[in-house]
């Protein structure tokens, strides 16, 4: 692999840092200095990453540490997520638009899809030509890339026992290998949807009180029911949809700020959970024991965490 780093951290002020996991230590390398405000990070190919900043998308080469290309979007709003699929860049914008941008400039196949009033998350389906969106009062929708039409729309959450409307604020979406979808909400709900079934309401859901969920990650070991969720108050929960109880299986403690991103990494031949939080710390928890193995102060405010793609898929 061209990735020499185990992970790449993107900071709010535009800094990029590569992290190597050493025994009892993190080793950092500066990739990019603070310049432009950074919104999101995503993988382009084996050696490049996409940096999205406000209305720009930049290709950044990790090897040469240089910007190679630049794409602009004519939309009022910030980009919240980008991914690459079949020679096309697909970007979700804050105001609810999804913009399809061809990588090579000569083809002009500019497309726009309106997904709703607000967008906070966009993810691609791993194997198929589909993507999922969600936002404030904009429940999960799965779109087909070729036709640009909705394939599946989740129903807004069921009203409570007094028949009052419950809010809906999607914060993150992830896919299992059997194409089931997990959606985390800012109001402390994680839902499991099955797009293949006729049921539009969640198949299973877990709840937490007094916190909201910010980040979500499915487990990499082909188990189709387990997720790891980072909350807005600093704990990381491990949920299992198989049981009847809606309580978390395990809690990973240690952070005092909102967990911006979680991922599973292989560290010292054991599964560990790597997380960045708004209290400017990088943490690694042991998955089996739940202990905090390593933590370090990374000074600036981190926003995005990219794990070496090889390990993210295994």
């Amino acid at each position: 692999m061209a990735w020499t780093y185990d992970a790449v951290i993107g900071f709010g002020n535009g800094m990029l840092k590569g992290v190597e996991l050493k025994k009892d230590k993190f080793k950092y390398t500066n990739l990019l200095d603070a310049s432009l405000p950074l919104n999101n990070l995503s993988i382009y190919d084996e050696s490049k990453t996409i940096i999205s900043s406000k209305r720009k998308m930049l290709l950044f080469d990790l090897k040469t540490k240089k910007m190679s290309k630049k794409y602009l979007i004519r939309e009022a709003g910030n980009i919240i997520g980008v991914f690459k699929k079949n020679n096309v860049l697909i970007a979700g914008v804050n105001n609810g638009m999804v913009v399809v941008k061809p990588i090579k400039q000569n083809k002009i196949v500019l497309e726009k899809i309106s997904t709703g009033s607000h967008l906070s998350c966009i993810r691609q389906v791993l194997t198929l030509d589909k993507f999922a969106t969600g936002g404030i009062e904009n429940p999960l929708k799965i779109w087909d890339l070729e036709t640009g039409k909705v394939e599946f729309t989740a129903k807004s959450p069921k009203p409570d026992m007094l028949q009052l409307k419950l809010p809906c604020y999607v914060s993150d979406i992830q896919f299992f290998n059997n194409n089931k979808v997990v959606v985390s909400h800012r109001h402390g709900v994680v839902d499991l949807h099955d797009p293949l079934s006729s049921q539009r309401r969640p198949v299973a859901s877990c709840k937490a009180e007094n916190t909201g969920f910010v980040s979500l990650r499915t487990m990499p070991d082909y188990s189709d029911y387990e997720v790891i969720v980072g909350t807005s108050k600093g704990s990381i929960f491990h949920y299992d949809f198989r049981g009847k109880s809606t309580l978390p299986v395990k809690t990973f403690r240690g952070s005092t700020g909102s967990v911006k991103s979680v991922s599973c990494v292989n560290y010292l031949n054991q599964m560990h959970i790597m997380s960045i939080s708004l209290d400017c710390h990088l943490r690694i928890h042991n998955f089996i024991s739940g202990d905090l193995t390593l933590q370090d102060y990374i000074v600036a405010k981190p926003l995005a965490l990219l794990i070496k793609p090889d390990e993210a898929t295994v």
Binding site: N13, R253, S258, C280, V299, K301
Partner: protein
Amino acid sequence: MAFTRVATSKMDSENEVGESQAGPELPKLARKKPRGLLRQEKLKDLKNKKKIQKRDRKLRKASGDPKQVPRTIENTREPDSTVFHSDDEDYDQKTQDLAAEFEHDEFADYYSDLYKPKVLITYKEKPLRKVREFGKILTEIVPNSVRIFRRDASVKETIQAAINKGYTDLVIINEDRNEPNGLILVHLPDGPTAYFRLSNVIFPNKRQRKEFTDHRPEVITTNFTTGLGKTVARMLGAVFHQDAEFKGRHVVTMHNQRDYIFFRHHRYKFLKNKPYLRELGPKFTLRLQYLQEGLYDPKCGEYRWIMTDKRHKIETSRRRFFL
């Protein structure tokens, strides 16, 4: 005593015959001393200890050794990873990163002197007399500030209205039983939001109120050491005007000690090159409860640091401080 008991038991196990011949040696019971005697002995011990300490001090003074440093909570504080020490491994890199972070954060515009702060001060829905009085005094101290009643407008509505009117900071004072007890500070237009517990408010008396002037005060924020503390200090500093009017000789001090932020307002004077302070008031204490990313949003907001609901998990030690 215990020793003898062990010895006898050992003997027991070794040969039972010997025991039956001589008879077991019973341990002597300790005679209970009367209580008064115990106290007397304790006092005596203490006196002796002090005597020894005094003698040692004298000896040390005579020999010219350095003075011993008393152990306080501050100097035995638990090490914090966000405090920089110059002998750290990557000290240079970290200070560089921090400088870069401060160049690009929400208060960068204020500290590079791009705008003048404009502050809006409001209260809870129906404020009582004491809180209104408190807000009035705050408007007199904070330059370029306006106070309004927010009636039945929610905090979020107030924030939106304030952004539209071009305010840069918003202060909301809460009260409980006619006593100011909370303060929300929002930096506009895109956060962060801090909630402080407010306590020990002492209002200026008549004499002090007479000495208030319209001059812009100097602002000092001291003893904020950690990463969180620096952010809070920057936030508090950004409420006041950047260039002070030194003619007025007013100082506003926000001093952090053991996570409590003490607010003081003084007037200074130099007499024969010696500074003299005169307290103007008000005095109050702030304690950070949470620091939130973005605008005020208690339900789905993200927190940079939060203490509510998990104080017992965070406050694990008396010697651990966050600011």
